[in-house]
C-alpha cells in the first residue's frame, strides 16, 4: 500500500515549494504551542509566526527577525475527528472523493502535530459505528490512522452521521485538547448544534469543510457539472440525477442562489458557535489550512497566551 503520509508530505513539499511547510509550521506553533516559561532557542522568523514572539533586541543585533522559542508547556493531544461514512466517498468540488481531500487535510495537521511533538488521536466512523485510536506519536501511528480512514470511507459504508462522532468525543474526553474536524458541506441540525456547543466549551475546535461537488454549474459558467459520459448518482441511495434539467439557465440561476444561501446559513452556524471554520474545494488544502490556522489565531481562540 502506498504510504498515505508520504503523499501528504509530498503535497506539502513539492506543490507548495517548501515554503509552505515552514509557514504552516510556524502558524501551528504559534497557534497551539503557546509560550512556556523556559526559553529554548532563537530561530529565524518565518511568516506565520506570532509577531509577539519576535525577540526585538536580538533582531536588532542580528539584522533579521528572530523568534524566541520556548519549551512547550506540555505535550498536547490533537484529536482528529473524521466522517468516514458513505458521503465521504462522494465527489468533492474538484472531482476527487471527499475522502481524499480529508486525508490530505488530516495528514497535514497530524504531521504538523508530530513535528511539534504532540500526540495524535483519531475518532472516525459513520452512523452505525465509531472507532477510536488513542493518542500516540510517530509517523507509523499517523500512517495507520490515515489508512483506517482511507479504508472505512467507501461507497458501501453506512451513511454519514457526524453527530455520532461528536457525541463520542464529548462523552469520552474530559481533558482539553485540540479537536480537528473534517466534514463535508452538510447542514448541521439542532442536535449537532448542541453537541458542538458543549464540545466547544471543553475543547478547542478547528473545523474544515470539504466542498461537495457542484450539481449544476453556476449561471453563465462554461464548464459542465458532470463530465460527458458520466451519470450523476446520489451516493446515499443510488438515485440518478439527470443532468439535462440541471443545465437549464433557470435551474442554474436558482441553484447558484440556493448555494449562496446555504453557504451563508452554514457560515452563520459556525460563527454563532464560535467554531473556526475553513473551507477547501479539494485542490487548495494547504492554503485552506493556512487560512484556517490564521483565522483561528486572529479570533483569539488559541488557548495559550
Amino acid at each position: 500500500m502506498p504510504s498515505l503520509l508520504k503523499k501528504v508530505k509530498s503535497r506539502l513539499f513539492i506543490a507548495a515549494r517548501r515554503r509552505t511547510l515552514g509557514m504552516l509550521d510556524g502558524e501551528y506553533g504559534s497557534v497551539f504551542k503557546g509560550r512556556g516559561l523556559d526559553f529554548d532557542e532563537l530561530r529565524p522568523y518565518v511568516p506565520g509566526d506570532d509577531v509577539r514572539d519576535i525577540d526585538w533586541k536580538a533582531t536588532a543585533r542580528h539584522g533579521s527577525p528572530l523568534i524566541r522559542r520556548y519549551i512547550s508547556v506540555r505535550r498536547q493531544t490533537v484529536l482528529l475527528v473524521a466522517d468516514t461514512g458513505r458521503n465521504m466517498a462522494a465527489a468533492s468540488k474538484d472531482g476527487n472523493a471527499k475522502r481524499e481531500v480529508a486525508l490530505d487535510a488530516l495528514g497535514l495537521i497530524g504531521f504538523l502535530a508530530l513535528r511539534h511533538g504532540d500526540d495524535v488521536a483519531l475518532v472516525h466512523g459513520d452512523a452505525e459505528k465509531t472507532r477510536y485510536f488513542p493518542p500516540r506519536t510517530g509517523e507509523e501511528h499517523l500512517e495507520r490512522l490515515l489508512g483506517a480512514i482511507h479504508d472505512s470511507a467507501g461507497r458501501e459504508s453506512p451513511r454519514s452521521d457526524l453527530s455520532c462522532q461528536l457525541r463520542f468525543t464529548l462523552r469520552n474526553f474530559r481533558q482539553r485538547m485540540l479537536v480537528f474536524v473534517v466534514a463535508d458541506e452538510f447542514l448541521p441540525d439542532a442536535e449537532t448544534e448542541s453537541l458542538l456547543r458543549r464540545l466547544q466549551a471543553r475543547h478547542e475546535i478547528l473545523w474544515l469543510t470539504v466542498r461537495d461537488a457542484a450539481l449544476a454549474v453556476e449561471a453563465h459558467a462554461e464548464l459542465a457539472p458532470c463530465p460527458r459520459g458520466f451519470k450523476t448518482v446520489d451516493i446515499s441511495d443510488g438515485t440518478y440525477l439527470p443532468d439535462a434539467p440541471a443545465a437549464r439557465p433557470s435551474v442554474r440561476r436558482a441553484y447558484a442562489e440556493a448555494m449562496k444561501e446555504r453557504e451563508g446559513v452554514r457560515r452563520e452556524f459556525y460563527r454563532r458557535l464560535g467554531v473556526t471554520e475553513g473551507v477547501t474545494g479539494g485542490d487548495d488544502v494547504v492554503p485552506a489550512l493556512f487560512r484556517l490556522l490564521e483565522l483561528h489565531r486572529m479570533t483569539g481562540r488559541a488557548h495559550a497566551g
Binding site: R86, N87, A89, A90, A91, K98, R155, S160, D184, E185, F186, D212, A213, L215, A216, C226, P227, G229, F230, K231, T232, V233, D234, I235, S236, T239, L241, P242, D243, A244, P245, A246, A247, R248, S250, V251, R253, A254, Y255, A258, M259, R262
Partner: protein, 334 residues
C-alpha cells in the same frame, strides 16, 4: 381494414424483442461511469429543478411513446393495410329506340337527332339502341343492340339518307307501301313492340332496364293508322316505356286538346316522357341531353369485393409520431 402481409406484425414484434434483449445485454455489460455525489437535496429540492425534471421526464415519455408509435406505424404500413369494400358498380342499362318519322318535312330534324345519337353512342357503355323509321309503314332498321360499331355505321347511313346524299334512296324502302303518310300511331306501336316482351311473358331475368322511345314527328297524320296515337301511348304505358316526343313543326292553332301538337304532348307526358319542340335542328342536342337527364336511371349490378391499398392512416400517424419525436429530441437536448 385488413393487412395483406399480416405476418409482418409477429415478425416485427419478434425482431423488436430480440433487439431489446440484445441492447439490454450490451447495456448491462458497460454501465456508464458514475459520478457519486452527496447531499443531492442541494439541487433536487429546488422547485426550479423539480419543474425542469418533470418536463424532462415528460419529454422523455413523449419521445419514447413517439418512437414506439412511429415503429408501430411503420410496421403496420409495411404490412400493407388494405381496404376491402363491397361495391355495387353503377351500370347504365337503358334501352333507347329511335323512332323517326321520315316524311318529307322531317329530314333536317332526323338528321340532327341521328347525329346526336351517333355522338352519344361513342360514350355508351351498356345502353342498347334500336331504330325504327316510319312513314306510311314502320320499318325496323335495327333492333335493340349494344354493338356500337354496327350502330355507328347504321346511324351514319341514316344520316346520309336524311341529308339526301346520292345512292341512299333505298334507305327508305318499305316505308311508303301503305296507305297515307306519317302514321304515327303505328310507328310508335312498332317502336314500343321492339322492346323485349319483358314483364308480359315473365321471360325477362336480367336486371331491369329503363325503356325510352325518342319519337321525332310533326304529327301531321294523313290516312288511317291501325293504332291511334293514344292507343300506342297506352301500349307504351303498359310496357313501361317512356315516350319522348320531338316535334319540330308544332303548328297548333289554339290550345284545343285535339290539335296534333297537344295530342302528341298529352301522349308523351302520359307515358312519363318529355315533349319538346326544337326550333332548329341545332337545339336537338340540348333536348336529347334533357331527355338523358330524365332517364338517368342507374341500376345496381351484383356486389363486388374491391381491395385497395390504404396506407394513408398508418403513414399519417407515423409522420405525426416522427414530428413529435423530433420536437422531443430537440427539447431534450440540454
Amino acid at each position: 381494414m385488413e393487412l395483406t402481409l399480416w405476418w409482418m406484425l409477429p415478425l416485427a414484434t419478434a425482431v423488436g424483442i430480440v433487439a431489446t434483449l440484445i441492447l439490454l445485454r450490451r447495456g448491462r455489460g458497460k454501465q456508464p461511469q458514475r459520478r457519486y455525489i452527496a447531499h443531492r437535496e442541494r439541487l433536487a429540492a429546488l422547485p426550479e429543478y423539480r419543474r425542469a425534471l418533470r418536463s424532462h421526464r415528460r419529454w422523455l415519455w413523449i419521445a419514447a411513446v413517439s418512437a414506439g408509435v412511429l415503429l408501430a406505424a411503420a410496421v403496420v404500413a409495411a404490412a400493407r393495410p388494405v381496404q376491402s369494400d363491397v361495391v355495387q358498380p353503377e351500370t347504365r342499362n337503358r334501352d333507347i329506340v329511335l323512332c323517326l318519322d321520315v316524311s318529307g318535312s322531317m329530314g333536317s330534324t332526323d338528321s340532327a337527332l341521328v347525329e346526336v345519337f351517333a355522338d352519344l353512342a361513342k360514350e355508351f357503355d351498356g345502353e342498347r339502341i334500336g331504330m325504327v323509321i316510319f312513314d306510311s309503314r314502320a320499318v325496323q332498321l335495327f333492333p335493340l343492340t349494344d354493338d356500337y360499331a354496327y350502330i355507328s355505321t347504321q346511324l351514319q347511313a341514316a344520316r346520309d339518307a336524311f341529308d339526301g346524299k346520292e345512292g341512299t334512296s333505298g334507305f327508305f324502302d318499305g316505308t311508303w307501301s301503305g296507305a297515307g303518310s306519317s302514321l304515327i300511331g303505328d310507328g310508335l306501336a312498332t317502336c314500343v313492340q321492339s322492346f323485349p316482351a319483358g314483364d308480359d311473358t315473365g321471360a325477362e331475368t336480367g336486371p331491369e332496364r329503363s325503356r325510352s322511345v325518342i319519337l321525332a314527328t310533326d304529327n301531321f297524320l294523313s290516312g288511317t293508322p291501325i293504332f291511334t296515337l293514344e292507343e300506342a301511348g297506352e301500349l307504351a304505358t303498359t310496357r313501361g316505356v317512356h315516350v319522348h316526343a320531338l316535334n319540330p313543326g308544332d303548328f297548333d292553332s289554339g290550345d284545343a286538346s285535339d290539335q296534333p301538337g297537344a295530342r302528341l304532348k298529352a301522349v308523351a307526358e302520359g307515358t312519363g316522357g318529355v315533349y319538346a319542340t326544337p326550333d332548329s335542328p341545332d337545339s336537338v342536342s340540348d333536348i336529347v341531353a334533357k331527355v338523358q337527364a330524365t332517364e338517368a336511371l342507374s341500376y345496381r349490378a351484383a356486389p363486388e369485393a374491391v381491395v385497395t391499398d390504404s396506407p394513408a392512416v398508418p403513414l399519417a400517424v407515423g409522420l405525426l409520431a416522427g414530428a413529435s419525436l423530433l420536437i422531443a429530441a430537440w427539447k431534450l437536448e440540454p
